[in-house]
């Protein structure tokens, strides 16, 4: 393995990190959108919106980094994957438009507020399902010829991609509910606790079904997970999922406000690690590896310098922004 190959692996981790940060950060605010229809009261809705208003566009910037970084570091993968998930991607973008502007628009109007609340919820659903479907579409593999995507524009639609779409919705909703446990109080928090119960089991069910369905997609996935000696590395993942789920259950029973959200993030991290185990070293499953897709070494090196300096800085001031708006959100007592 030469130096360029090592940088490609490093970049695969960087892109994976950016996408993961996106998933957990936008995941909870998309989750709030998914749960919005269950909170019809205006005061509750205001509090829910207030709890993410100062940070939502920072969260979505990670999505831009994931897309832009993929184009820069693995242009071939970007060029093959984006047309393959064309329709869900466009749907996601449209969903994000509706929910994004709703943050601002709903404060600018009294008479049309309900309309923007609907846009917020519907946009969140559309974006979440589209992201989950896109993930499934990539996992199940895409047709490649030469340096191009060779399939049709409806290839993404399969029972498996629908399954991953619903699974992601369950996960995001859990993140949203536990975020409300962390950030709110009173009846709103109690309702969030109640929802977290159902959503935890929904998410565990989703993890289970997707985990069982994935090895059936392709022999590569089955070997990766169940063949000796891989199983030494892979077996602890489901065990850890069970452990974190138990801790999460306990924190829900004991009503420890500060814990459920972070334990839910833990579940996401483990599921994500599982995805990584399934895919590595392919970036387009079964056809293009990270080394085949990698940019020339000097492109990857040029960006690596920036990433090494800037990502810690970004994490620093992002943490500061969350710190400024820390604590429980009061109805009508602060921002927005």
């Amino acid at each position: 393995m030469n130096a360029a190959a090592d940088i490609a692996t490093l970049w695969a981790f960087i892109i994976a990190f950016a996408v993961f940060v996106y998933v957990v950060m936008d995941g909870f605010d998309l989750g709030l959108g998914l749960l919005f229809p269950l909170f019809p009261q205006k005061t509750d809705r205001d509090v829910i919106m207030n709890s993410v208003a100062p940070v939502w566009d920072g969260n979505e910037t990670w999505l831009v980094l994931g897309g832009g970084g993929l184009m820069a570091a693995f242009p071939l993968a970007y060029a093959v994957l984006m047309p393959a998930i064309y329709t869900p991607l466009i749907a996601m973008l449209i969903g994000l438009i509706f929910r994004g502007v709703a943050f601002e628009f709903r404060w600018r109007t009294q008479s049309e507020r309900n309309r923007w609340d609907v846009a917020f919820a519907a946009g969140s659903w559309l974006a979440t399902l589209a992201q989950g479907i896109a993930l499934g579409a990539i996992l199940q593999g895409v047709q490649v010829e030469g340096r191009h995507y060779a399939g049709g524009w409806w290839d993404w639609l399969t029972p498996f991609s629908i399954l991953t779409g619903l699974a992601l919705a369950a996960g995001y909703a859990l993140l949203g509910a536990t975020w409300l446990v962390l950030k709110t109080e009173g009846e709103l928090r109690d309702k969030a606790y109640h929802l977290s119960w159902y959503l935890l089991f929904a998410m565990l069910g989703a993890i289970g079904v997707v985990s069982l369905a994935t090895p059936l997609l392709h022999i590569h996935y089955a070997e990766r997970w169940f063949a000796w000696p891989n199983i030494i590395v892979t077996a602890p993942v489901p065990l850890a999922v069970a452990g974190v789920a138990a801790l999460l259950l306990r924190s829900l029973i004991r009503k420890q406000d500060n814990q459920p959200f972070f334990l839910s993030l833990g579940l996401f991290a483990l599921s994500y690690a599982g995805l990584g185990i399934s895919m590595y070293p392919y970036i387009v499953p079964q056809s293009i590896t990270i080394w085949q897709a990698a940019s020339p070494e000097n492109s990857q090196l040029f960006m690596l310098v920036g990433v090494a300096v800037l990502i810690p800085l970004i994490l620093g001031y992002t943490a500061w922004a969350y710190w400024v708006f820390r604590g429980k959100v009061q109805a009508g007592a602060g921002y927005h």
Binding site: P54, V64, P75, H148, I314
Partner: protein, 465 residues
């Protein structure tokens, strides 16, 4: 439904459409973020309430504009992959890192400090809040730096080689970033953003002065905006001229299209003011022209020979009528902005800056002029680069995704419907905000607090962090 159009045409239409909508918002946020930083600095420095009132007034508008810029920008960052995947594969190793740096150095900075800027004045104190405003303003400028570098590289590529897979690869990153047209384009665009914002601010100020010439806020904003127009419009005309000379050196075909020079002029080229370029006939019909002036402007000599499109193979011609007319719209508006600036100087010297109804009406009429000029300028430079995506090296038809026309057509239709529905609503909300003058005690976005929840008394609330 899309049978008559091929996927490349639809993909181009989609990029032009989504980009035309998007470009409006960053142009406004670049200018407005800097204006807000100036207002807050003036407030901290002088302590005068009028500045914080104006700051809060424009901050609410900024928050709506910024939100629309973010969501329409996310669409742009995926356009390269969805509709232009061959371009992404071939140019990604060069263009991609520039965009990645834009995200890392600019977008995060803006988004990271935006929350504090919008909602955090009471939470972090004046100095930290001012720092947040400065960071957001700086972020918008850094963003302009990278995206214009990437755009300029597509116009005037330098510092690259082509590898075995047919990809462009960087040989010298400094030459890639500081490619020949970049400094000119950056200056021209940032000045355009400032002028565009000044025209909007000036129009809002003038609108309220028409109804009451004694209002403090509108007086201050109108005066500031008119200074900007008067001082920057002439600089912008100069910068535009320099940009044009740079284009002549590096992209002569674009200049031929902008000028409508189908024929070569060995003894000095005319300046065609107006006319109808006809690509089939290879001439400008009904041309109204001034002899030798074209050579004088572009070559600084009356008799300098200038080559025309007859020296360029037809398959390399840009769409001349679009480039030709977009250029004239931009230049015409530029001179109108210049005239507004001069008028304001005259009124100022006569002491009628806040009284002249004619000036105020003129300023209101010019409110959207900056946006139109920016769009026209962008159409000039991007259509003038055609039929290439990377000038002279990569053809537009070789850049598109291997998609069927119905896929591209459906997504174009979806974007069109959503953009018109969402962004026209946003513009209406912005106009509603602008319809009220800034008043004493103006609150920022954090004041849009709905009804108070039961049980929280003001005394308790005062102790909250």
């Amino acid at each position: 439904m899309f049978g008559g159009l091929d996927a490349v045409v639809l993909a181009r239409a989609q990029f032009a459409f989504t980009m035309s909508f998007h470009i409006i918002f960053p142009v406004f946020t670049i200018g407005l973020a800097s204006y807000l930083a100036v207002l807050e600095a003036l407030w901290l420095w002088t302590g005068r309430d009028v500045f914080i009132n104006l700051f809060n007034y424009w901050l609410k508008i900024f928050s709506v504009v910024f939100g629309m810029g973010v969501v329409s920008g996310i669409v742009m960052s995926y356009q390269f992959g969805t509709n232009w995947s061959a371009f992404a594969d071939k140019a990604g190793p060069v263009i991609g890192p520039l965009m990645a740096y834009e995200v890392l150095t600019a977008f995060f900075l803006e988004a990271g400090f935006l929350g504090v800027m919008l909602f955090g004045l009471e939470r972090v104190g004046h100095k930290l809040h001012f720092l947040a405003t400065l960071m957001v303003a700086t972020g918008t400028l850094i963003s302009a730096f990278w995206i214009l570098s990437a755009n300029s590289w597509m116009q005037t590529p330098t510092g690259y080689a082509v590898n075995a897979d047919g990809q462009f690869v960087a040989v010298d990153w400094f030459k890639v970033i500081f490619n020949p047209s970049f400094p000119y384009r950056l200056v021209h665009m940032v000045l355009a953003a400032y002028l565009t914002t000044a025209l909007v601010v000036g129009a809002v100020g003038a609108f309220h002065l028409l109804r009451d010439r004694h209002l403090a806020g509108p007086r201050v904003m109108f005066s500031m905006a008119m200074w900007m127009a008067a001082l920057v419009a002439p600089i912008q005309i100069l910068a535009g001229d320099q940009h044009g000379l740079n284009t002549l050196e590096h992209q002569p075909t674009k200049i031929m299209a902008m000028e409508g020079h189908f024929e070569s002029h060995p003894d000095g080229a005319p300046l065609i003011l107006f006319g109808l370029p006809d690509m089939n006939a290879g001439k400008v019909k009904y041309a109204l022209e001034i002899p030798h002036l074209g050579s004088l402007i572009l070559e600084h000599s009356l008799d300098a020979p200038m080559k025309g499109l007859d020296t360029v193979p037809r398959e390399n011609w840009p769409p001349v009528p679009v480039t030709f007319w977009a250029f004239r719209i931009m230049v015409g508006l530029g001179f109108l902005i210049f005239a507004l600036g001069l008028f304001s100087l005259l009124a100022r010297s006569l002491g009628t800056l806040y009284q002249s109804r004619l000036l105020h009406l003129f300023a209101i009429a010019m409110g959207p002029a900056g946006f139109i000029a920016v769009l026209a300028g962008w159409f000039t430079t991007e259509t003038g680069r055609q039929p290439f995506t990377v000038y002279g090296l990569l053809r537009t038809v070789e850049s598109a995704s291997p998609l069927a026309a119905p896929a591209v057509g459906s997504s174009l239709a979806a974007f069109a419907i959503v953009y018109f529905a969402v962004f026209t609503t946003g513009v209406i909300y912005i106009l509603r905000l602008m319809a009220h003058p800034p008043h004493p005690g103006e609150q920022g976005p954090s004041s849009d607090v709905p009804s108070r929840a039961a049980g929280i008394t003001p005394a308790v609330e005062g102790m909250l962090p």
